[in-house]
Amino acid sequence: MSKEQQLIDSYLDGELTADEEGRLTEWLAAEPEHVHQFVRETHLHRQIREVMLARPYRAYGLSEVASAERKVGQAPMRWLPRQLSQWLGLPWSPTLRWLLAPAVCLALVAGLSFWYFGPTMGKPVLVEVQGTGLSLERADQPLPAVPGTRLQAGDVLRTPENVSAAISFAPERTRITIQPGTELTLASMSRGKRFNLSAGKLDASVARQRPFQPMVLVTLQARARVLGTKFSLLTTSEQTRLEVTEGSVQLSRLSDAVSVKVPAGNYAVVSSNSVPAPLFVNEHRRSSGVPVDMR
């Protein structure tokens, strides 16, 4: 591989030093063909990203199509108008059939626009640190954890006793407060926010997330899937407890993927112990205003 190719690779991987920047600039300025090569490389870089991001959705789409086809035998397109007419209670005239196609197209365009112009997702920034001793680890290296630090996927935050911290995603109105004695890993930020809560407690206020990109928090026993709500999540080596104050959160047990939707004013507990089957998730209703002991 040529040195210039290595420079372009380093640039695209965000690892170019100041000296290398200078060399890359000189090389680009030397020949118009060099700019063309640079453009082809950046396009390749972007396109790999696009294809890799599309793969899970394509797999999901194909499985949905396969399941729909199984459901209606060999003629899904004949089944759809008939089923729609039944649902809508309409006499399915030829005119209505002709109207269906543009209506579906319009809905598709509206859906795509909604998807594309949906809410802007912010980047995680450490905004508040109460007390001293907060630890931030990036690629096994300790970093200074001060307010204003921009967090990345793979970062691990540990709050000792008497220390709490908050992560903001401004301009998005999402905020996570990490309580004392907590270990939280920012697992991924690229397709929805993903966190691993190894120990301790956090309180979160989550703004509406992009479609199909929920916030997901994983503990030793459970997975909480959030689209927009307020909740608290506490985990120990034995159990995970979720309390929801606004909206609702889907909580699943990791061992068997059995899940429960926890609405506002409720809490649920997922335990790793082998409890009797019907009690795999204990959901307790409580009257509003009664505090829940999260310890």
Partner: protein, 173 residues
Amino acid sequence: MEPQEQFTRFWTEAQPKLAGYINALVPDFAEAEDLLQNVAVILLRKFPEYDAKRPFIGWAIGITKREVLMARRRHARNFLCYQTDLLERISEAYEELAPELEDRSRALRECLKAVQGRATELLRLRYEDGLEPTAIAGHVGMAVVAVRVMLSRTRAMLRGCIERRIRIQNVPP
């Protein structure tokens, strides 16, 4: 055709090239995607000013360039944003190479199917999760240098595959 519908058609075709163009100037995926989203909104808002006699991609790149320049304080790390003449040449090259880039995208989709094993995992972490080589090394328990080499080799393999496919495609029957 309604303007909204017309815009959707143009945008669908131009989006991959604009995304590539922004990524050329702002390599961080998340930052580039935020910028792309802003550009989409601005293009939609300015679409009534678009002169249909000109290629859409040229008009869109012009607006995107202005947006990148306006946002360059935020992207101060990306030195290319400060090389105005270079920025101009990159914009021109994107416009010039637009048809070729489309062929390259199609070829890439096929070429990616040939990537297997650990290379797939590294590509997934780099491009799907957006991790940089240092973070990937921590995830997979490899040395950072080894991650860089493997990523570079995989990209070189993809580049070679794309070139071969394009050559075959261009051979007259």
